[in-house]
Protein backbone atom coordinates (compact mmCIF):
# COMPACT_ATOMS: atom_id res chain seq x y z
CA UNK A 1 0.00 0.00 0.00
CA UNK A 2 2.76 2.32 0.87
CA UNK A 3 4.72 1.40 -2.24
CA UNK A 4 1.66 2.15 -4.41
CA UNK A 5 1.29 5.57 -2.85
CA UNK A 6 4.96 6.33 -3.51
CA UNK A 7 4.67 5.24 -7.17
CA UNK A 8 1.56 7.35 -7.66
CA UNK A 9 3.20 10.38 -6.13
CA UNK A 10 6.26 9.96 -8.37
CA UNK A 11 4.04 9.69 -11.44
CA UNK A 12 2.10 12.83 -10.52
CA UNK A 13 5.28 14.76 -9.94
CA UNK A 14 6.74 13.53 -13.24
CA UNK A 15 3.60 14.57 -15.07
CA UNK A 16 3.59 17.99 -13.54
CA UNK A 17 7.23 18.37 -14.36
CA UNK A 18 7.03 17.35 -18.04
CA UNK A 19 6.98 20.03 -20.74
CA UNK A 20 3.52 20.48 -22.28
CA UNK A 21 3.29 19.89 -26.05
CA UNK A 22 2.82 23.06 -28.05
CA UNK A 23 -0.70 23.06 -29.52
CA UNK A 24 -1.09 23.24 -33.33
CA UNK A 25 -2.94 26.22 -34.79
CA UNK A 26 -6.64 25.37 -35.16
CA UNK A 27 -6.72 25.32 -38.99
CA UNK A 28 -3.60 23.18 -39.24
CA UNK A 29 -5.06 20.89 -36.62
CA UNK A 30 -8.30 20.66 -38.62
CA UNK A 31 -6.34 19.81 -41.78
CA UNK A 32 -4.33 17.15 -39.99
CA UNK A 33 -7.48 15.69 -38.47
CA UNK A 34 -9.17 15.54 -41.88
CA UNK A 35 -6.13 13.88 -43.44
CA UNK A 36 -5.76 11.41 -40.58
CA UNK A 37 -9.45 10.53 -40.65
CA UNK A 38 -9.32 10.12 -44.43
CA UNK A 39 -6.38 7.74 -44.14
CA UNK A 40 -8.22 5.65 -41.53
CA UNK A 41 -11.27 5.43 -43.74
CA UNK A 42 -9.12 4.53 -46.75
CA UNK A 43 -7.62 1.65 -44.79
CA UNK A 44 -11.11 0.49 -43.90
CA UNK A 45 -12.22 0.64 -47.54
CA UNK A 46 -14.67 3.51 -46.92
CA UNK A 47 -13.50 5.28 -50.04
CA UNK A 48 -16.41 7.70 -50.47
CA UNK A 49 -16.00 9.36 -47.07
CA UNK A 50 -12.21 9.15 -47.45
CA UNK A 51 -12.50 11.15 -50.67
CA UNK A 52 -14.50 13.85 -48.88
CA UNK A 53 -12.03 14.03 -46.02
CA UNK A 54 -9.02 14.31 -48.35
CA UNK A 55 -10.80 16.99 -50.38
CA UNK A 56 -11.42 18.88 -47.14
CA UNK A 57 -7.78 18.47 -46.18
CA UNK A 58 -6.63 19.77 -49.57
CA UNK A 59 -8.88 22.80 -49.17
CA UNK A 60 -7.67 23.61 -45.66
CA UNK A 61 -3.99 23.09 -46.50
CA UNK A 62 -4.40 25.31 -49.57
CA UNK A 63 -6.08 27.97 -47.40
CA UNK A 64 -3.08 28.13 -45.08
CA UNK A 65 -0.63 28.05 -48.00
CA UNK A 66 0.84 24.69 -47.00
CA UNK A 67 2.06 23.40 -50.38
CA UNK A 68 3.47 20.16 -48.97
CA UNK A 69 0.24 19.25 -47.21
CA UNK A 70 -1.82 20.20 -50.25
CA UNK A 71 0.30 18.12 -52.61
CA UNK A 72 0.34 15.15 -50.22
CA UNK A 73 -3.42 15.17 -49.84
CA UNK A 74 -3.91 15.46 -53.59
CA UNK A 75 -1.95 12.22 -53.88
CA UNK A 76 -4.15 10.66 -51.18
CA UNK A 77 -7.21 11.87 -53.03
CA UNK A 78 -5.97 10.45 -56.35
CA UNK A 79 -5.16 7.12 -54.73
CA UNK A 80 -8.65 6.98 -53.22
CA UNK A 81 -10.30 7.88 -56.53
CA UNK A 82 -8.32 5.09 -58.22
CA UNK A 83 -9.48 2.65 -55.57
CA UNK A 84 -13.06 3.76 -56.35
CA UNK A 85 -12.45 3.19 -60.06
CA UNK A 86 -12.71 6.92 -60.82
CA UNK A 87 -9.59 7.32 -62.96
CA UNK A 88 -10.72 10.59 -64.55
CA UNK A 89 -11.27 12.12 -61.10
CA UNK A 90 -7.84 10.88 -60.06
CA UNK A 91 -6.23 12.65 -63.03
CA UNK A 92 -8.16 15.78 -62.09
CA UNK A 93 -6.82 15.63 -58.54
CA UNK A 94 -3.27 15.08 -59.80
CA UNK A 95 -3.52 18.02 -62.20
CA UNK A 96 -2.87 20.29 -59.22
CA UNK A 97 0.55 18.66 -58.78
CA UNK A 98 1.45 18.81 -62.48
CA UNK A 99 3.69 21.85 -62.01
CA UNK A 100 6.26 19.93 -60.01
CA UNK A 101 5.55 16.22 -60.56
CA UNK A 102 7.12 13.85 -58.07
CA UNK A 103 7.69 10.13 -58.63
CA UNK A 104 4.45 9.41 -56.76
CA UNK A 105 2.52 11.90 -58.88
CA UNK A 106 3.88 10.39 -62.10
CA UNK A 107 3.19 6.84 -60.96
CA UNK A 108 -0.38 7.62 -59.93
CA UNK A 109 -0.87 9.44 -63.23
CA UNK A 110 0.36 6.37 -65.10
CA UNK A 111 -1.92 4.19 -63.02
CA UNK A 112 -4.95 6.34 -63.94
CA UNK A 113 -3.92 6.36 -67.58
CA UNK A 114 -3.64 2.57 -67.59
CA UNK A 115 -7.10 2.35 -66.08
CA UNK A 116 -8.34 4.55 -68.92
CA UNK A 117 -6.51 2.42 -71.55
CA UNK A 118 -4.26 5.36 -72.49
CA UNK A 119 -1.26 3.16 -72.96
CA UNK A 120 1.04 5.63 -74.74
CA UNK A 121 0.46 8.33 -72.14
CA UNK A 122 1.03 5.79 -69.38
CA UNK A 123 4.33 4.73 -70.97
CA UNK A 124 5.47 8.35 -71.06
CA UNK A 125 4.50 8.94 -67.43
CA UNK A 126 6.33 5.77 -66.39
CA UNK A 127 9.43 6.74 -68.32
CA UNK A 128 9.40 10.14 -66.55
CA UNK A 129 8.92 8.43 -63.19
CA UNK A 130 11.77 6.04 -63.91
CA UNK A 131 13.98 9.04 -64.74
CA UNK A 132 13.30 10.50 -61.27
CA UNK A 133 13.53 7.20 -59.38
CA UNK A 134 17.24 7.11 -58.66
CA UNK A 135 18.75 4.42 -56.46
CA UNK A 136 17.79 3.96 -53.69
CA UNK A 137 14.18 4.51 -54.73
CA UNK A 138 11.47 3.28 -52.32
CA UNK A 139 8.90 3.29 -55.08
CA UNK A 140 10.96 1.08 -57.43
CA UNK A 141 8.93 -2.08 -56.79
CA UNK A 142 5.64 -0.29 -57.48
CA UNK A 143 7.20 1.32 -60.54
CA UNK A 144 8.23 -2.10 -61.84
CA UNK A 145 4.72 -3.38 -61.28
CA UNK A 146 3.25 -0.50 -63.24
CA UNK A 147 5.73 -1.13 -66.05
CA UNK A 148 4.72 -4.78 -66.01
CA UNK A 149 1.07 -3.75 -66.27
CA UNK A 150 1.86 -1.44 -69.16
CA UNK A 151 3.86 -4.13 -70.94
CA UNK A 152 1.06 -6.66 -70.42
CA UNK A 153 -1.48 -4.19 -71.75
CA UNK A 154 0.81 -3.68 -74.76
CA UNK A 155 0.91 -7.44 -75.44
CA UNK A 156 4.55 -7.84 -74.34
CA UNK A 157 4.22 -10.76 -71.96
CA UNK A 158 7.99 -11.56 -71.53
CA UNK A 159 8.75 -7.93 -70.65
CA UNK A 160 5.79 -7.85 -68.26
CA UNK A 161 7.00 -11.04 -66.61
CA UNK A 162 10.50 -9.63 -66.21
CA UNK A 163 9.23 -6.43 -64.55
CA UNK A 164 6.85 -8.33 -62.28
CA UNK A 165 9.55 -10.78 -61.17
CA UNK A 166 11.94 -7.88 -60.52
CA UNK A 167 9.27 -6.23 -58.40
CA UNK A 168 8.63 -9.46 -56.50
CA UNK A 169 12.32 -9.70 -55.73
CA UNK A 170 12.34 -6.18 -54.33
CA UNK A 171 9.22 -6.86 -52.26
CA UNK A 172 10.45 -10.13 -50.78
CA UNK A 173 11.97 -8.57 -47.67
CA UNK A 174 9.41 -5.83 -47.32
CA UNK A 175 6.03 -5.61 -45.67
CA UNK A 176 3.91 -4.64 -48.63
CA UNK A 177 1.40 -7.44 -48.94
CA UNK A 178 -0.75 -5.52 -51.41
CA UNK A 179 2.06 -5.08 -53.86
CA UNK A 180 3.27 -8.64 -53.37
CA UNK A 181 -0.16 -9.95 -54.31
CA UNK A 182 -0.17 -7.58 -57.29
CA UNK A 183 3.20 -8.95 -58.35
CA UNK A 184 1.98 -12.56 -58.16
CA UNK A 185 -1.15 -11.68 -60.09
CA UNK A 186 0.91 -10.00 -62.81
CA UNK A 187 3.26 -12.96 -63.00
CA UNK A 188 0.28 -15.28 -63.42
CA UNK A 189 -1.23 -13.09 -66.10
CA UNK A 190 2.06 -12.74 -67.95
CA UNK A 191 2.65 -16.49 -67.86
CA UNK A 192 -0.85 -17.13 -69.08
CA UNK A 193 -0.33 -14.65 -71.89
CA UNK A 194 2.92 -16.42 -72.73
CA UNK A 195 1.03 -19.75 -72.88
CA UNK A 196 2.64 -21.00 -69.67
CA UNK A 197 -0.67 -21.84 -68.03
CA UNK A 198 0.83 -24.50 -65.79
CA UNK A 199 3.24 -21.95 -64.33
CA UNK A 200 0.51 -19.34 -64.06
CA UNK A 201 -1.76 -21.35 -61.77
CA UNK A 202 0.46 -21.37 -58.66
CA UNK A 203 1.21 -17.66 -59.10
CA UNK A 204 -2.50 -16.88 -59.24
CA UNK A 205 -3.02 -19.09 -56.17
CA UNK A 206 -0.32 -17.12 -54.32
CA UNK A 207 -2.04 -13.85 -55.19
CA UNK A 208 -5.38 -15.27 -54.04
CA UNK A 209 -3.93 -16.38 -50.72
CA UNK A 210 -2.60 -12.92 -49.96
CA UNK A 211 -5.76 -11.17 -51.06
CA UNK A 212 -7.84 -13.49 -48.89
CA UNK A 213 -5.59 -12.68 -45.96
CA UNK A 214 -6.04 -8.97 -46.65
CA UNK A 215 -9.79 -9.53 -47.11
CA UNK A 216 -10.10 -7.59 -50.35
CA UNK A 217 -13.26 -8.80 -52.13
CA UNK A 218 -12.65 -7.18 -55.51
CA UNK A 219 -9.17 -8.61 -55.81
CA UNK A 220 -10.32 -12.03 -54.60
CA UNK A 221 -13.06 -12.11 -57.22
CA UNK A 222 -10.64 -11.09 -59.96
CA UNK A 223 -8.14 -13.70 -58.77
CA UNK A 224 -10.84 -16.34 -59.14
CA UNK A 225 -11.61 -15.11 -62.62
CA UNK A 226 -7.93 -15.38 -63.50
CA UNK A 227 -7.76 -18.86 -62.03
CA UNK A 228 -10.80 -19.82 -64.09
CA UNK A 229 -9.12 -18.53 -67.23
CA UNK A 230 -5.93 -20.48 -66.45
CA UNK A 231 -7.84 -23.67 -65.72
CA UNK A 232 -9.74 -23.33 -68.95
CA UNK A 233 -6.45 -22.99 -70.81
CA UNK A 234 -5.01 -25.99 -69.02
CA UNK A 235 -8.17 -28.00 -69.57
CA UNK A 236 -8.80 -28.43 -65.89
CA UNK A 237 -12.23 -29.78 -65.01
CA UNK A 238 -12.78 -27.23 -62.24
CA UNK A 239 -12.94 -24.18 -64.45
CA UNK A 240 -16.61 -23.56 -63.74
CA UNK A 241 -15.97 -23.82 -60.02
CA UNK A 242 -13.48 -20.96 -60.21
CA UNK A 243 -15.92 -18.83 -62.14
CA UNK A 244 -18.67 -19.76 -59.71
CA UNK A 245 -16.50 -18.63 -56.78
CA UNK A 246 -15.79 -15.38 -58.57
CA UNK A 247 -19.51 -14.90 -59.16
CA UNK A 248 -20.38 -15.64 -55.54
CA UNK A 249 -17.77 -13.27 -54.17
CA UNK A 250 -18.76 -10.53 -56.61
CA UNK A 251 -22.45 -10.92 -55.81
CA UNK A 252 -21.80 -10.87 -52.08
CA UNK A 253 -19.65 -7.74 -52.39
CA UNK A 254 -22.04 -6.04 -54.81
CA UNK A 255 -19.49 -5.91 -57.63
CA UNK A 256 -21.82 -5.86 -60.62
CA UNK A 257 -19.15 -5.58 -63.30
CA UNK A 258 -17.18 -8.60 -62.07
CA UNK A 259 -20.37 -10.57 -61.45
CA UNK A 260 -21.39 -9.98 -65.07
CA UNK A 261 -17.98 -11.07 -66.35
CA UNK A 262 -18.06 -14.18 -64.15
CA UNK A 263 -21.57 -15.07 -65.29
CA UNK A 264 -20.54 -14.71 -68.92
CA UNK A 265 -17.47 -16.90 -68.40
CA UNK A 266 -19.55 -19.42 -66.51
CA UNK A 267 -22.09 -19.53 -69.30
CA UNK A 268 -19.34 -20.10 -71.86
CA UNK A 269 -17.80 -22.94 -69.87
CA UNK A 270 -18.39 -26.45 -71.23
CA UNK A 271 -20.60 -28.66 -68.99
CA UNK A 272 -17.76 -31.17 -68.56
CA UNK A 273 -15.57 -28.59 -66.83
CA UNK A 274 -17.57 -28.49 -63.63
CA UNK A 275 -15.81 -30.96 -61.42
CA UNK A 276 -14.99 -29.57 -57.96
CA UNK A 277 -11.56 -28.20 -57.34
Amino acid sequence: MRAKSIVLTVLILAGCGSTPKPADPPRLKAALEAESDGAKRYERGDYIVATRRFEEAVRIYASIDDATGTSRNRLHLARTELARGQAEAALLALAGNAGDPTVDTLMLTAQAQLALDRLDAAQRSLAAAAGQCATPCPQLASLNLLRARAALAGGQAPEALAHAEAALKLLRDGNEANETANAWRLIASARLAASDAAGALPAAGAALDIDRRLALPEKIARDWLLIGDIRRKVGDGATAVAYRRALDVANAAGLAEIARAAALSLGATAPGQTAPR
Binding site: K21, S36, Y42, N182
Partner: protein, 312 residues
Protein backbone atom coordinates in the same frame (compact mmCIF):
# COMPACT_ATOMS: atom_id res chain seq x y z
CA UNK B 1 -131.07 124.97 -108.78
CA UNK B 2 -131.37 122.30 -106.23
CA UNK B 3 -131.55 119.64 -109.01
CA UNK B 4 -128.28 120.84 -110.47
CA UNK B 5 -126.71 120.76 -107.07
CA UNK B 6 -127.94 117.19 -106.49
CA UNK B 7 -126.57 116.12 -109.92
CA UNK B 8 -123.15 117.54 -109.20
CA UNK B 9 -122.85 115.70 -105.94
CA UNK B 10 -123.78 112.36 -107.54
CA UNK B 11 -121.24 112.87 -110.35
CA UNK B 12 -118.51 113.64 -107.85
CA UNK B 13 -119.31 110.49 -105.92
CA UNK B 14 -119.19 108.46 -109.09
CA UNK B 15 -115.82 109.94 -110.03
CA UNK B 16 -114.44 109.14 -106.59
CA UNK B 17 -115.67 105.53 -106.85
CA UNK B 18 -114.20 105.16 -110.30
CA UNK B 19 -110.83 106.50 -109.15
CA UNK B 20 -110.81 104.12 -106.18
CA UNK B 21 -111.58 101.17 -108.40
CA UNK B 22 -108.87 102.10 -110.87
CA UNK B 23 -106.40 102.59 -107.99
CA UNK B 24 -107.11 99.16 -106.51
CA UNK B 25 -106.93 97.53 -109.96
CA UNK B 26 -103.55 99.10 -110.53
CA UNK B 27 -102.34 97.89 -107.13
CA UNK B 28 -103.49 94.32 -107.88
CA UNK B 29 -101.83 94.43 -111.29
CA UNK B 30 -98.54 95.66 -109.78
CA UNK B 31 -98.72 92.99 -107.10
CA UNK B 32 -99.31 90.30 -109.74
CA UNK B 33 -96.41 91.52 -111.85
CA UNK B 34 -94.19 91.63 -108.78
CA UNK B 35 -95.21 88.11 -107.82
CA UNK B 36 -94.50 86.86 -111.32
CA UNK B 37 -91.12 88.55 -111.34
CA UNK B 38 -90.21 87.14 -107.95
CA UNK B 39 -91.43 83.73 -108.98
CA UNK B 40 -89.28 83.89 -112.10
CA UNK B 41 -86.30 84.71 -109.95
CA UNK B 42 -85.52 88.01 -111.45
CA UNK B 43 -84.53 89.37 -108.08
CA UNK B 44 -82.57 86.31 -106.99
CA UNK B 45 -78.80 86.17 -107.19
CA UNK B 46 -77.74 83.26 -109.37
CA UNK B 47 -74.54 81.74 -110.75
CA UNK B 48 -74.32 80.05 -114.09
CA UNK B 49 -72.65 76.68 -114.73
CA UNK B 50 -72.47 74.79 -117.98
CA UNK B 51 -71.95 71.31 -119.35
CA UNK B 52 -71.63 69.72 -122.78
CA UNK B 53 -73.79 66.81 -123.89
CA UNK B 54 -73.80 64.62 -126.98
CA UNK B 55 -77.46 65.19 -127.51
CA UNK B 56 -80.15 67.60 -126.38
CA UNK B 57 -82.59 64.74 -125.96
CA UNK B 58 -84.60 65.21 -122.73
CA UNK B 59 -82.87 68.57 -122.09
CA UNK B 60 -84.88 71.78 -122.53
CA UNK B 61 -84.66 75.41 -121.58
CA UNK B 62 -86.31 76.07 -118.21
CA UNK B 63 -85.82 72.43 -117.15
CA UNK B 64 -85.36 72.14 -113.42
CA UNK B 65 -81.95 71.46 -111.96
CA UNK B 66 -81.88 69.66 -108.61
CA UNK B 67 -79.47 68.80 -105.90
CA UNK B 68 -80.48 65.83 -103.74
CA UNK B 69 -84.02 66.19 -105.10
CA UNK B 70 -84.36 69.91 -104.25
CA UNK B 71 -84.80 72.37 -107.06
CA UNK B 72 -81.87 74.78 -107.02
CA UNK B 73 -81.96 76.26 -110.51
CA UNK B 74 -82.97 75.78 -114.12
CA UNK B 75 -81.53 75.36 -117.57
CA UNK B 76 -81.12 78.82 -119.00
CA UNK B 77 -79.80 78.02 -122.46
CA UNK B 78 -79.45 75.04 -124.77
CA UNK B 79 -77.39 75.63 -127.93
CA UNK B 80 -75.75 73.56 -130.66
CA UNK B 81 -72.00 74.03 -130.94
CA UNK B 82 -69.92 74.03 -134.10
CA UNK B 83 -68.61 70.55 -133.42
CA UNK B 84 -72.13 69.15 -133.22
CA UNK B 85 -72.23 68.87 -129.43
CA UNK B 86 -74.80 70.60 -127.26
CA UNK B 87 -73.81 73.31 -124.79
CA UNK B 88 -76.14 73.67 -121.85
CA UNK B 89 -76.06 76.57 -119.38
CA UNK B 90 -77.73 76.40 -115.98
CA UNK B 91 -78.57 79.17 -113.54
CA UNK B 92 -78.15 78.01 -109.96
CA UNK B 93 -79.22 79.94 -106.87
CA UNK B 94 -76.22 81.49 -105.20
CA UNK B 95 -77.45 80.06 -101.87
CA UNK B 96 -76.85 76.51 -103.18
CA UNK B 97 -73.42 77.12 -104.66
CA UNK B 98 -71.87 75.63 -101.53
CA UNK B 99 -73.06 72.17 -102.63
CA UNK B 100 -71.38 72.30 -106.05
CA UNK B 101 -67.82 71.04 -105.68
CA UNK B 102 -65.16 71.34 -108.37
CA UNK B 103 -65.55 67.64 -109.19
CA UNK B 104 -69.38 67.67 -109.22
CA UNK B 105 -71.14 66.14 -112.22
CA UNK B 106 -74.52 66.66 -113.83
CA UNK B 107 -76.66 63.59 -114.40
CA UNK B 108 -79.76 63.40 -116.55
CA UNK B 109 -82.10 61.14 -114.66
CA UNK B 110 -85.58 59.89 -115.27
CA UNK B 111 -88.22 59.53 -112.64
CA UNK B 112 -88.76 55.76 -112.97
CA UNK B 113 -88.14 54.04 -116.26
CA UNK B 114 -90.56 56.18 -118.27
CA UNK B 115 -90.95 59.41 -116.17
CA UNK B 116 -89.89 62.97 -116.99
CA UNK B 117 -86.18 63.74 -117.13
CA UNK B 118 -84.46 65.97 -114.58
CA UNK B 119 -80.97 67.26 -114.23
CA UNK B 120 -79.33 66.36 -110.95
CA UNK B 121 -76.07 67.87 -109.78
CA UNK B 122 -74.15 65.24 -107.83
CA UNK B 123 -71.37 66.71 -105.65
CA UNK B 124 -67.96 65.00 -105.90
CA UNK B 125 -66.04 63.35 -103.06
CA UNK B 126 -63.65 66.29 -102.56
CA UNK B 127 -65.70 68.71 -100.46
CA UNK B 128 -62.82 71.07 -99.78
CA UNK B 129 -62.94 72.94 -103.11
CA UNK B 130 -66.08 74.44 -104.66
CA UNK B 131 -66.65 74.90 -108.35
CA UNK B 132 -65.93 78.41 -109.61
CA UNK B 133 -68.69 80.48 -111.22
CA UNK B 134 -69.14 79.72 -114.93
CA UNK B 135 -67.38 76.38 -114.39
CA UNK B 136 -67.96 73.55 -116.83
CA UNK B 137 -69.21 70.42 -115.14
CA UNK B 138 -69.08 66.91 -116.49
CA UNK B 139 -72.29 65.38 -117.75
CA UNK B 140 -73.63 61.86 -117.84
CA UNK B 141 -76.89 60.44 -118.94
CA UNK B 142 -78.59 57.81 -116.84
CA UNK B 143 -79.59 54.71 -118.74
CA UNK B 144 -83.10 54.79 -119.98
CA UNK B 145 -85.42 51.99 -120.91
CA UNK B 146 -83.78 51.39 -124.28
CA UNK B 147 -80.31 51.17 -122.73
CA UNK B 148 -81.66 48.85 -120.11
CA UNK B 149 -83.23 46.69 -122.75
CA UNK B 150 -79.96 46.61 -124.68
CA UNK B 151 -78.09 45.64 -121.54
CA UNK B 152 -80.54 42.87 -120.80
CA UNK B 153 -80.22 41.62 -124.33
CA UNK B 154 -76.42 41.66 -124.08
CA UNK B 155 -76.58 39.68 -120.85
CA UNK B 156 -79.15 37.19 -122.10
CA UNK B 157 -77.63 36.23 -125.42
CA UNK B 158 -74.54 34.40 -123.94
CA UNK B 159 -76.79 32.67 -121.42
CA UNK B 160 -79.05 31.44 -124.14
CA UNK B 161 -76.05 30.17 -126.09
CA UNK B 162 -74.83 28.29 -123.00
CA UNK B 163 -78.29 26.78 -122.49
CA UNK B 164 -78.25 25.64 -126.07
CA UNK B 165 -74.86 23.98 -125.61
CA UNK B 166 -75.90 22.32 -122.34
CA UNK B 167 -79.11 20.95 -123.77
CA UNK B 168 -77.15 19.68 -126.78
CA UNK B 169 -74.66 17.92 -124.47
CA UNK B 170 -77.46 16.48 -122.38
CA UNK B 171 -79.10 15.11 -125.44
CA UNK B 172 -75.90 13.35 -126.57
CA UNK B 173 -76.70 9.59 -126.49
CA UNK B 174 -73.16 8.61 -125.42
CA UNK B 175 -71.87 11.43 -123.22
CA UNK B 176 -75.19 13.05 -122.35
CA UNK B 177 -78.01 12.16 -120.05
CA UNK B 178 -78.94 8.81 -121.67
CA UNK B 179 -75.34 7.52 -121.45
CA UNK B 180 -74.97 8.78 -117.87
CA UNK B 181 -78.21 7.11 -116.85
CA UNK B 182 -77.02 3.84 -118.39
CA UNK B 183 -73.75 4.08 -116.45
CA UNK B 184 -75.66 4.91 -113.25
CA UNK B 185 -77.76 1.82 -113.79
CA UNK B 186 -74.62 -0.29 -114.16
CA UNK B 187 -73.05 1.32 -111.06
CA UNK B 188 -76.17 0.78 -108.99
CA UNK B 189 -76.18 -2.89 -109.97
CA UNK B 190 -72.52 -3.22 -108.88
CA UNK B 191 -73.35 -1.32 -105.69
CA UNK B 192 -76.16 -3.71 -104.94
CA UNK B 193 -73.75 -6.65 -105.24
CA UNK B 194 -71.24 -4.83 -103.01
CA UNK B 195 -73.90 -4.09 -100.43
CA UNK B 196 -74.98 -7.70 -100.41
CA UNK B 197 -71.37 -8.80 -99.77
CA UNK B 198 -71.01 -6.09 -97.11
CA UNK B 199 -74.16 -7.25 -95.40
CA UNK B 200 -72.85 -10.80 -95.22
CA UNK B 201 -69.53 -9.60 -93.75
CA UNK B 202 -71.25 -7.28 -91.27
CA UNK B 203 -73.38 -10.16 -90.12
CA UNK B 204 -70.16 -12.15 -89.42
CA UNK B 205 -68.57 -9.22 -87.60
CA UNK B 206 -71.78 -8.62 -85.70
CA UNK B 207 -71.66 -12.20 -84.43
CA UNK B 208 -68.11 -11.73 -83.21
CA UNK B 209 -68.97 -8.35 -81.72
CA UNK B 210 -71.87 -9.90 -79.83
CA UNK B 211 -69.52 -12.53 -78.41
CA UNK B 212 -66.98 -9.85 -77.41
CA UNK B 213 -69.70 -7.77 -75.83
CA UNK B 214 -70.89 -10.82 -73.95
CA UNK B 215 -67.39 -11.38 -72.61
CA UNK B 216 -67.09 -7.68 -71.75
CA UNK B 217 -70.37 -7.94 -69.90
CA UNK B 218 -69.03 -10.87 -67.91
CA UNK B 219 -65.85 -8.94 -67.13
CA UNK B 220 -67.87 -5.93 -66.06
CA UNK B 221 -69.88 -8.23 -63.83
CA UNK B 222 -66.67 -9.43 -62.18
CA UNK B 223 -65.48 -5.86 -61.89
CA UNK B 224 -68.77 -4.91 -60.30
CA UNK B 225 -68.38 -7.70 -57.75
CA UNK B 226 -64.82 -6.61 -57.03
CA UNK B 227 -65.89 -3.01 -56.62
CA UNK B 228 -68.73 -4.11 -54.37
CA UNK B 229 -66.29 -6.03 -52.19
CA UNK B 230 -63.91 -3.08 -52.17
CA UNK B 231 -66.80 -0.79 -51.34
CA UNK B 232 -67.67 -2.95 -48.33
CA UNK B 233 -64.10 -3.06 -47.08
CA UNK B 234 -63.14 0.49 -47.90
CA UNK B 235 -65.05 2.26 -45.12
CA UNK B 236 -63.38 0.03 -42.52
CA UNK B 237 -59.97 0.64 -44.03
CA UNK B 238 -60.62 4.34 -44.17
CA UNK B 239 -61.68 4.32 -40.54
CA UNK B 240 -58.51 2.49 -39.54
CA UNK B 241 -56.41 4.84 -41.67
CA UNK B 242 -58.11 7.80 -40.05
CA UNK B 243 -57.33 6.34 -36.61
CA UNK B 244 -53.71 5.82 -37.61
CA UNK B 245 -53.51 9.34 -38.90
CA UNK B 246 -54.98 10.61 -35.65
CA UNK B 247 -52.30 8.71 -33.76
CA UNK B 248 -49.58 10.00 -36.03
CA UNK B 249 -50.91 13.51 -35.65
CA UNK B 250 -50.93 13.16 -31.88
CA UNK B 251 -47.41 11.75 -31.86
CA UNK B 252 -46.23 14.49 -34.20
CA UNK B 253 -47.76 17.16 -32.02
CA UNK B 254 -46.09 15.70 -28.97
CA UNK B 255 -42.81 15.34 -30.83
CA UNK B 256 -43.05 18.92 -32.01
CA UNK B 257 -43.02 19.99 -28.41
CA UNK B 258 -40.54 17.49 -27.01
CA UNK B 259 -38.05 16.79 -29.84
CA UNK B 260 -36.48 20.23 -30.47
CA UNK B 261 -35.41 20.66 -26.83
CA UNK B 262 -34.04 17.10 -26.90
CA UNK B 263 -32.09 17.87 -30.06
CA UNK B 264 -30.80 21.08 -28.59
CA UNK B 265 -29.85 19.27 -25.44
CA UNK B 266 -28.19 16.50 -27.50
CA UNK B 267 -26.22 19.03 -29.50
CA UNK B 268 -25.15 20.81 -26.36
CA UNK B 269 -24.21 17.51 -24.75
CA UNK B 270 -22.23 16.47 -27.85
CA UNK B 271 -20.42 19.81 -27.82
CA UNK B 272 -19.66 19.37 -24.13
CA UNK B 273 -18.44 15.81 -24.67
CA UNK B 274 -16.27 16.94 -27.59
CA UNK B 275 -14.81 19.69 -25.43
CA UNK B 276 -14.24 17.32 -22.50
CA UNK B 277 -12.61 14.67 -24.74
CA UNK B 278 -10.52 17.33 -26.44
CA UNK B 279 -9.46 18.68 -23.07
CA UNK B 280 -8.77 15.20 -21.74
CA UNK B 281 -6.63 14.37 -24.76
CA UNK B 282 -4.45 17.34 -23.96
CA UNK B 283 -4.06 16.47 -20.29
CA UNK B 284 -1.36 14.31 -18.82
CA UNK B 285 -1.07 11.35 -18.95
CA UNK B 286 -3.75 10.76 -21.63
CA UNK B 287 -2.02 13.02 -24.16
CA UNK B 288 0.88 10.58 -24.13
CA UNK B 289 -1.45 7.71 -24.99
CA UNK B 290 -3.40 9.35 -27.82
CA UNK B 291 -1.77 9.88 -31.20
CA UNK B 292 -2.05 13.46 -32.30
CA UNK B 293 -3.22 13.79 -35.90
CA UNK B 294 -0.21 13.69 -38.17
CA UNK B 295 0.49 13.65 -41.87
CA UNK B 296 -0.74 10.29 -43.16
CA UNK B 297 0.95 7.84 -45.47
CA UNK B 298 -1.20 5.54 -47.53
CA UNK B 299 0.11 2.13 -48.45
CA UNK B 300 1.22 1.89 -52.03
CA UNK B 301 -1.02 -0.22 -54.23
CA UNK B 302 -0.21 -0.16 -57.91
CA UNK B 303 -3.38 -2.11 -58.72
CA UNK B 304 -6.02 -1.32 -56.07
CA UNK B 305 -8.77 -3.09 -57.98
CA UNK B 306 -6.81 -6.08 -59.21
CA UNK B 307 -7.46 -5.09 -62.79
CA UNK B 308 -4.14 -6.41 -64.09
CA UNK B 309 -5.25 -9.97 -63.44
CA UNK B 310 -7.60 -10.28 -66.33
CA UNK B 311 -8.52 -8.26 -69.35
CA UNK B 312 -11.50 -6.14 -68.36
Amino acid sequence: MSLLTQHDSDAAALRRGTRRFLFFALLVTVALVAAIVVRQGLFRQTTSYSFVANSAQDIAKGQAVRIAGFRVGAVSEVSLKDDGQVAVTMEIDADHMRFITHDARVELRKEGLVGSATLEIVPGPDKTRLAAAQARLTFSRADGLAALANQVRDEFIPILKDIKLITGALADPDKGLPGTLARIRESSAALNILLANGNRQVEGIGGKAIRVLGKAEDDLGHLGQTLEAANKRLPGMLDRTQQMLDHVEKITAEAEISVPPVLRDGSAVAADVREIVSGAKQTWPIRNMVDAPAPATLKADSDPRGEAGRAR
